[in-house]
Symmetry: C2
Subunit: 350 residues, 2 copies
């Protein structure tokens, strides 16, 4: 294992001072072009590699962005991460990623680890049961920008990146109403989380705006997993009268509900129309294809990193920007089209 080459070695090699070598390597404007070229050539030729740690130690900057998410392995979140990675990589930042597995405890320990890793900035989507965000105050106190995305928290010193969950839910619900639904059930997650609370609001206001009654009994909260979907479907089957429309806050659960209802002989959308949320791949595989909200995960990841880097470069001010809202759209497929042709209805009834 040969010794690492340092700028001192290069300096000796080309007969310059380490300072000039450092400047040349960092493309400092005040260095002669020829000198730069000489230094670069010597560097590559000698097999020099930049020592981040020495640099970080000096500059107190790490070029590292921390990411804390509930889970990595959902279609939505992996798209977000993919988008983040792309922008971060382009800008010369590394991404350190950790998952809270939906618990506050792990979120707190992840935050500590990120703090000790001295990330330059932090991107967070909150765990299912996070109540308060005190574990992020060390960052804020130190001036390390914290940016929430998707599952956000209100904080005057943190940017939030979201879609307009309320509007999206409003559109979805209104679509069901336009299809003739009058007795719609909404299935959602923990209402502590903005995403679910806002979707509920959109659901509620859509009903009210269409002069339909809003009853608390038509809102069911659950974990939105596949299993929860089976349970929810069973409850729906026992309702009297059964609803004629269901708006579910994610696709996993919506698909699971659809499958279970179909098995019980319910015709989708004829008997019950179903709408999901996220536009996961499964939404285009289930029969009938699921009407859903397209959630731009990849784009959200890109925007999150881009904005964080802007804060780091002090291009934008974290205090002035508060919330960034991305466009989400309703994607209408067969699962909600009551006006479907007889053939389509037969198909979906199978």
């Amino acid at each position: 294992m040969d010794k690492e080459i340092t700028i001192y070695d290069i300096a000796k090699g080309v007969g310059l001072s380490p300072a000039t070598v450092s400047r040349a390597l960092n493309d400092h404007p005040a260095v002669n072009k020829n000198t730069k070229k000489k230094v670069f050539e010597a560097a590559t030729q000698m097999g020099y590699r930049f020592n981040m740690f020495a640099s970080n130690l000096r500059t107190q900057r790490t070029n590292t962005i921390g990411v804390i998410v509930p889970r990595l392995n959902s279609p939505f979140m992996s798209s977000v991460i993919a988008g983040m990675e792309k922008i971060a990589n382009e800008a010369g930042y590394n991404l350190i990623i950790s998952q809270s597995l939906e618990t506050v405890q792990k979120e707190i320990s992840n935050a500590k680890a990120m703090f000790n890793s001295r990330v330059d900035g932090l991107l967070v989507s909150l765990a299912y049961d996070t109540d308060n965000i005190d574990h992020f105050t060390p960052f804020i106190d130190k001036g390390i920008p914290v940016l929430f995305f998707d599952r956000t928290a209100e904080h005057k010193k943190c940017i939030g990146i979201v879609i307009d969950n309320m509007q999206a839910a409003h559109k979805a619900t209104t679509h069901l109403i336009e299809q003739g639904c009058t007795n719609i059930v909404h299935i959602t997650g923990n209402l502590k989380r903005n995403v679910y609370a806002d979707r509920l609001k959109g659901f509620k206001y859509a009903l009210i705006d269409s002069n339909l009654p809003y009853k608390e009994s038509s809102v069911m909260t659950c974990s939105l997993t596949e299993e929860a979907g089976i349970e929810a479907a069973k409850k729906i089957l026992k309702m009297d009268p059964m609803p004629d429309g269901i708006f579910v806050a994610n696709d996993t659960c919506a698909v699971s509900i659809t499958k279970t209802l179909k098995q019980a002989g319910v015709s989708i959308p004829h008997d019950i129309a179903v709408i999901g949320f996220n536009n996961d791949p499964i939404s285009r595989v289930i029969e009938p294809n699921l009407t859903t909200i397209h959630y731009p995960g990849y784009e959200m990841g890109e925007v999150a990193v881009r904005n964080l880097i802007n804060c780091l470069d002090e291009v934008s001010d974290i205090v002035s920007t508060n919330t960034i809202t991305l466009r989400a759209e309703l994607i209408i497929r067969e699962s909600s089209l009551k006006g479907a042709s007889k053939a389509e209805r037969l198909l979906s009834a199978s």
Copy 2:
């Protein structure tokens, strides 16, 4: 923004030397218990945080593991990453993740970035078109362990973690034969990649072992995407005679083929039985549910990191271990059961 607390501050605070404070903080055995306690208390009370960079600079170790994957946003890969993150986190390692987006060029530039980030070890799943792995020799030369998983390359100094792709494909193909298929088509990806080459071998040997002819014309290579699936299905529809079984090297493509064939009026599995690979969520949503190979992604991630850390701790030797093979199993669902009841057949024909 208050100044960072260093071990010098603590030393002053408790009336000791920085050396002792450092030792105490690192739980060095030669330090008095009471001294340790005093130091720890002072540290937490003063709000000290460990400076990795100074430490890294001294120790030449980063506690960071680099990960290069083709894409982050597939169900398989996000499970792998989730598993990796779990073990790494438990062991006090950070994960730096980057994606090659299936191109060698980006893989090379990612490798360079990882090298400069001085990762302690590297985990790689190769891009679609990677021919040679020279871009990893700098790591190997420096004694930085490189571990390939899933899409591996042969190298005497690198561990590979795989499933037995050949055996899995053999099982899948044999299952089709047992269901009465005699004219089976195999759809796969770039044969440079071990995963696809091995699956093809398994397919071929299964045919031979059952005394069925192996024809090159019944193997189609494509990108295995959804779009490629549509194209593949079109080709199959034009074949005369049409095959009675299809073994596809991933679920995305298998599902896409199934959808397209169904639209064309082909009954699955009655006319054509289909088997996929990976056990992605969509495989349980498509109708009929897709027979597939369960690929233990999460576990593979765990095993990969655990082994890499063993190499770093010199518990295990990278040269002695060569390949680690994980168990993969055939999951039989309706898409391959030709012996299905009439009711099920009608269902799948819809």
